[in-house]
Amino acid sequence: MQNYSLDDTYIKTLDPQTHELAVTTKDLRVFYGDNEAVHGVSLPFERYKITALIGASGSGKSTFLRSLNRMNDNIEGSRVTGEIMYRGVDINSQAVDVYEMRKHIGMVFQRPNPFAKSIYDNITFAPRRFGEKRKEVLDELVETSLKQAALWDQVKDNLYQSGLSLSGGQQQRLCIARAIAMKPDVLLMDEPASALDPISTSTVEDTLMALKEHFTIIIVTHNMQQAARISDYTAFFYSGQAIEFDETRKIFTRPKIKATDDYVSGHFG
């Protein structure tokens, strides 16, 4: 396998004056025990845009994504250093309440993981835990989030059937609906379509395109066509580093770094 220099990087800077930034990271490092899985990644994520994180397996993109809402906290032996700025606060600091933060930075996982509850309860479970008891508000929430996730028409008559009875693609859209029912600012998505068939994948992609009106989306994907189709910005990860970050059309047409070029054109490795 060919080795690329890790010093050769291009990270486009986004001017906060002209681009409203939802999240920025500074020198973010993730350790598992003694092993450093992400080496100092500094990236900006613009509000109401989709940013795709691409790269081979093991390049650290998923690990990086999971550290953005501190999901790595739950993995024994992991440690994250560096800054994650969100609304003027470094959410990687102990002063921040991690549970409150995750209400605003939601996450959708690679494998659909609906609760073993009804569709209705899947969506309303968290809002009810956080104190919303009014039935009409909850009903409304179920309808709007299912509509946003493009699932409403298929399940509106069966809201009380188990979320697990849906097909894989529908389950994933239910998980998206569940995440957006929390009305988050930012949605992190870890290869949300990788376990799905092509038709479900394209439905989920359409859903994402519609969602960016209201949410900032950061999505990890293996699928380069997907990144090219839906994202505004793309970051290419290699060996635990962000090698190149730019507007998506530039990454896919005129990448500045050879590693990126090889990867997007399929000559990688």
């Binding site: 809402n69 999901m71 739950n74 024994e76 549970y99 409150e100 933060m101 995750r102 209400k103 939601g106 996450m107 959708v108 996982f109 494998r111 993981n113 609906p114 609760f115 073993a116 509850k117 479970f125 968290a126 835990r129 956080f130 059937q161 188990s162 697990l164 009875s165 998980c175 569940r178 995440a179 929390m182």
Partner: protein, 294 residues
């Protein structure tokens, strides 16, 4: 003898062993039920035992067994849930956790008579609870807790980690996720374990003879004030259970019909334990189906 002939012979031997074991159980159950069931009547199930004459029943013992079971489950279930949650969700992989696991393993392998003697020393004498339902329930809790805890832990672990991530990603704490998402999903397994535990507790005697005591004072079933001495609900009264009763009349019984009474009581005990077993299987399956089906 050729290898083939030996193979044939050994297959025969194994069938024979399997057959013997099945016959053994059939014989055991058959003996108990044939000897005991004719003696079981409504009168037998409801009337008090007699010490020196024939015709005694097992009414009070039966009630004691159930009450003791209930009380010990009320104490041990929440403890087992808490401890199981700790082991499945919070315990880090370090030496301290190893010590805790070893302690649970030791507790689960302690002879129940030792647990009973400890209960006698601590609850009956030290805490001055005397021979009482409460002492017995606490002894049974110690006897039952390690197995229940392990069952809770295993059942929680059966639920995929992705479910916990789903809850956490919504801003819920680990505790809320476990209580509201993971436990409901693990419920069939947890309940099955609890019912099996209940069966075990119901038949246990060695841990009880020096804690709940070996006497069954008359009860006034019209008095449900737990503070009254003759009230069935009083947790501070001595309470011989069905299993202890069987042991008692067999080792020092002087009733003329001791054999018949113990056969009848054994039959009732076995049927109760069988019922717990069937309930655990049937209930667990049913609940599991209901939770996974659409």
């Amino acid at each position: 003898m050729s290898a083939k002939a030996i193979d044939k012979m050994m297959t025969g031997v194994l069938y024979l062993i399997a057959g013997i074991i099945v016959l053994l159980l059939a014989g055991l159950l058959g003996y108990i039920l044939v000897q005991g069931l004719p003696h079981v009547s409504w009168h037998f199930l409801t009337s008090p035992a007699k010490s020196f004459e024939a015709g005694g029943g097992i009414g009070i013992q039966l009630f004691n067994s159930f009450y003791l079971l209930l009380l010990s489950m009320v104490i041990s279930v929440p403890l087992a849930l808490g401890a199981g949650i700790y082991l499945a969700e919070y315990a880090k992989k370090n030496w301290l956790t190893d010590v805790v696991r070893t302690a649970i393993e030791i507790l689960s392998s302690l002879p129940s008579v030792v647990v009973g003697l400890f209960g006698f020393l601590v609850f009956v004498l030290q805490f001055k609870f005397g021979f009482s339902i409460l002492s017995g329930a606490l002894a049974l809790t110690m006897f039952n807790l390690p197995l229940l805890t392990r069952n809770v832990e295993d059942s929680l672990r059966q639920v995929g980690f992705t479910q916990r991530e789903a809850g956490l990603a919504l801003g819920l704490s680990r505790w809320e996720t476990v209580v509201h998402v993971v436990i409901p999903e693990a419920l069939p397994g947890i309940l099955t374990g609890m019912i099996l535990g209940a069966g075990r507790v119901f038949g246990e005697a060695a841990a009880l003879i020096y804690t709940a005591g070996q006497s069954a004072p008359a009860l006034n079933f019209a008095d449900w004030n737990p503070l009254h001495i003759a009230s069935p609900l009083n947790p501070f009264r001595p309470a011989e259970t069905l299993a202890v009763h069987i042991w008692k009349i067999n080792s020092e019984g002087i009733q003329p019909d001791a054999a018949a009474v113990s056969a009848g009581a054994s039959a009732v005990l076995i049927l109760a334990v069988l019922a717990f077993n069937l309930l655990a299987r049937w209930g667990g399956n049913r609940l599991y189906k209901r939770m996974t089906a659409g």
